[in-house]
């Protein structure tokens, strides 16, 4: 999707670094994260478990666990978040950002009627009246595709299936008409068929409401075809960042490429040997000096173990990757 002329960054992170203390020393959970997301665009964040996807989201939202030290600059709609007092920051984020979390079972309060959970942010941030909030909530419920929204309003979360809950979460995220919608592994716990529906819903909403969206997933298939840009995280580092179609068609970082070829594909015949990635993700308490992927990289050279590669640009100007020895560019076949 091409950026419309009026677009400007809704969210940008500059040199963001997160650190946390643990028994085995300080953990470098995120290192030097840079990206910026324009209005009406969708960003996919992918990476293996523990890569720091959720931490990134949490640090941006200001709901990181106690003890996480965040450095760098985060701007939301042009405002520097770190300059704000926690309360103002929470209010700003609450109004501008809607978020859907991974586990639909646990992210709705089982003790509170879903209607109230949907409308409460509206009441607090936008000062809606009770009746107004209620009609908004019901409207949103039907918008996300729940049957009988009037009745559902008074139901408790356990009365819904996982997919429905995720729809309710989406409705709740929309109450303040946010500019940015974040879905952190929003479909991981769902069955494939339901996953598809929820993803479709997210995508529809994004388009209809002209929002920006961040889609976090460890499943490359989820972000492919549904996002404009993609950010590949590995061990707390951004290893590749660029237009989704570019990155998938033309992965430059060796980790991205290895990840893509390790996935069993639907078009391979049975018993095709998969490409494996030996070793394990880096230990955050004791990072290697050079490229975090170097110990597992088949084409790693001495330099890779010593020097942390900087982000370099590919042929496509906004396609960036952190690899000393990137894969060759494949010609566009379109």
């Amino acid at each position: 999707m091409d950026a419309t002329p009026a677009s400007h960054p809704i969210l940008s992170c500059k040199a963001m670094t997160c650190e946390m203390d643990s028994v085995s020393g300080p953990l470098q959970i995120l290192q030097d994260i840079n990206f910026s997301l324009d209005t009406r665009r969708a960003l996919g964040i992918v990476g293996e478990s523990g890569a720091g996807k959720s931490m990134l989201i949490k640090a941006i939202m200001g709901i990181a666990p106690r003890g996480l030290r965040t450095k760098g600059r985060i701007e939301l709609d042009g405002q520097d978040l770190s300059a704000l007092k926690p309360k103002q920051r929470a209010k700003l984020i609450g109004r501008k950002v809607g978020i859907v979390f991974q586990n639909p079972m646990s992210s709705l309060n089982p003790f509170v009627q879903i209607g109230r959970q949907i409308e409460e942010a509206g009441c607090i941030h936008l000062g809606m009246s009770k009746a107004e909030a209620r009609s908004r909530a019901i409207e949103l419920l039907s918008f996300v595709g729940l049957p009988d929204p009037e009745d559902c309003y008074n139901y408790y979360p356990h009365q819904f299936s996982g997919g429905m809950k995720q729809r309710i979460m989406i409705a709740a995220a929309l109450i303040c008409q946010p500019d940015l919608l974040i879905a952190d592994e929003a479909t991981t716990a769902l069955d494939v068929t339901v996953q598809k529906e929820v993803l479709d819903l997210l995508q529809t909403i994004q388009a209809q409401r002209q929002m920006s969206m961040i889609l976090v997933s460890h499943n490359l298939g989820v972000v492919a075809g549904r996002t404009d840009e993609i950010l590949v995280l590995y061990g707390g580092n951004v290893v590749e960042y660029g237009p989704t179609s570019e990155v998938f068609r033309n992965p430059r970082h060796r980790y991205t490429e290895a990840l893509l070829s390790a996935m069993p594909a639907m078009d391979q015949p049975a018993h095709t040997r998969l490409r494996t990635i030996p070793g394990q993700p880096p230990n955050l308490a004791n990072r290697p000096a050079g490229c975090p992927f170097a110990p597992r990289c088949p084409s790693a050279q001495a330099k890779c173990h010593e020097v942390m590669p900087a982000m370099s640009a590919g042929v496509h100007p906004s396609h960036r990757f952190a690899c000393h020895f990137p894969l060759a560019e494949i010609a566009h076949v379109q």
């Binding site: 478990s49 494939v192 998938f248 990840l259 996935m263 069993p264 391979q268 049975a270 490409r275």
Partner: protein, 339 residues
């Protein structure tokens, strides 16, 4: 009734009309309903289906690992010449060195207080093998999954990563030298990069040892990769069973098609067009008559509401339980990006 055709003649496991129901709070719930299939030696049968469709229950029912207290199961499970379901518990225990299981969560399938050597040797201890034989078999099993006994022996499970744990779990099963392993979502909790290792390993072992595998997964891509034949489950019933190509290229059952369409694929060329479909899942506790899928099925007609479709051969050779099976190629199957 023979609802499937095994790859070769040497059928080692045959499941006939298996039904399992659980009672919960006085209510009965049929988790597996009249399921029949067979597995040949050296063959991998994939079981796919959405959550709650009864995959795990089938696997455990075969190995008689369901809790006695609230379970009722019917049907016959024959392993070679033995009817497992009628064996005494002592005799069943003796059968267990031939039938093994691998679980989804590798860490939770290990007793955290045991070290790796004890874990792998456990089956041999239970089967009463002498210590000398144990040692060599443990070593062999570990080396089959790429570990060296000496370096891992004293370590505890939590000192290993998920993929390593799953390999140890495989070694544990291999140590007793089984002929059939039920793998219950063995890669579901693993990251893509390690998932590939485990899948490759299972394939190698299967080939080397002529092992039969029942491979349970909800990931259709993984199942496609590992399986010779695939059974698709919906609400406790097999709706379609056939070879991989049959199922993946010409799925006959609308449910199979729904599943396949929903699989997220890494396809950079295709911008996915969202549709507004929404599934209404029928209740398991109050089963309606007729085909269970009909409320979600675009092709449903009156007959689907009235009669449960019997399993019949589809044109491409697979068996399907549908009144209106498809016979055209699945859309989009041909257009996959090549990498």
């Amino acid at each position: 009734m023979s609802s499937d055709i095994a790859l070769n003649d040497e059928i080692i496991l045959e499941v006939r009309n298996l039904s399992v129901s659980f009672s919960r709070g006085g209510k009965e719930m049929k988790a597996v309903d009249d399921v029949s299939f067979s597995v040949a030696a050296g063959e991998t049968l994939g079981l796919v289906g959405e959550s709650g469709s009864g995959k795990t229950t089938i696997g455990r029912a075969i190995l008689r690992l369901l809790p006695d207290a609230n379970t009722k199961s019917e049907g016959a499970v024959r392993y070679k010449k033995t009817y497992l379901n009628t064996l005494s518990s002592t005799d069943m225990r003796h059968m267990r060195d031939r039938l093994q299981m691998i679980f989804q969560d590798p860490l939770s399938s290990f007793n955290p207080r045991r070290n790796v050597e004890d874990i792998v040797a456990e089956g041999l201890v239970i089967q009463g093998k002498p210590a000398s034989e144990r040692k060599s078999r443990v070593e062999a099993a570990l080396s089959a999954v790429g570990f060296d006994l000496a370096t891992v022996a004293g370590r505890k499970p939590h000192q290993f990563s998920g993929g390593q744990c799953q390999r140890i779990a495989i070694a544990r099963s291999l140590a007793v030298e089984p002929e059939l392993i039920v793998c219950d979502e063995p890669v579901a909790s693993l990251d893509v990069s390690v998932q590939a290792q485990v899948i490759n390993l299972l394939q190698d072992i299967r080939e080397n040892r002529n092992l039969a595998l029942i491979f349970i997964s909800h990931d259709l891509a993984v199942v496609k990769n590992v399986s010779d034949r695939v059974a698709v489950l919906y609400m406790g019933r097999i709706v379609e069973i056939g070879t991989g190509p049959q199922i993946y290229e010409r799925p006959a059952h609308p449910y199979t098609r729904t599943l396949l369409e929903a699989v997220p694929v890494v396809d950079a060329t295709r911008k996915i067009e969202p549709d507004g479909k929404r599934t209404v899942m029928p209740s398991r506790n109050r089963p309606q008559g007729g085909c269970a899928f009909r409320s979600r099925c675009p092709r449903a007609t009156q007959i689907c509401a009235e009669t449960v479709p019997a399993v019949t051969p589809a044109p491409r050779g697979q068996m399907v339980a549908c009144h209106h099976p498809h016979d055209e190629p699945a859309p989009g199957m041909a257009v996959r990006t090549q990498r």
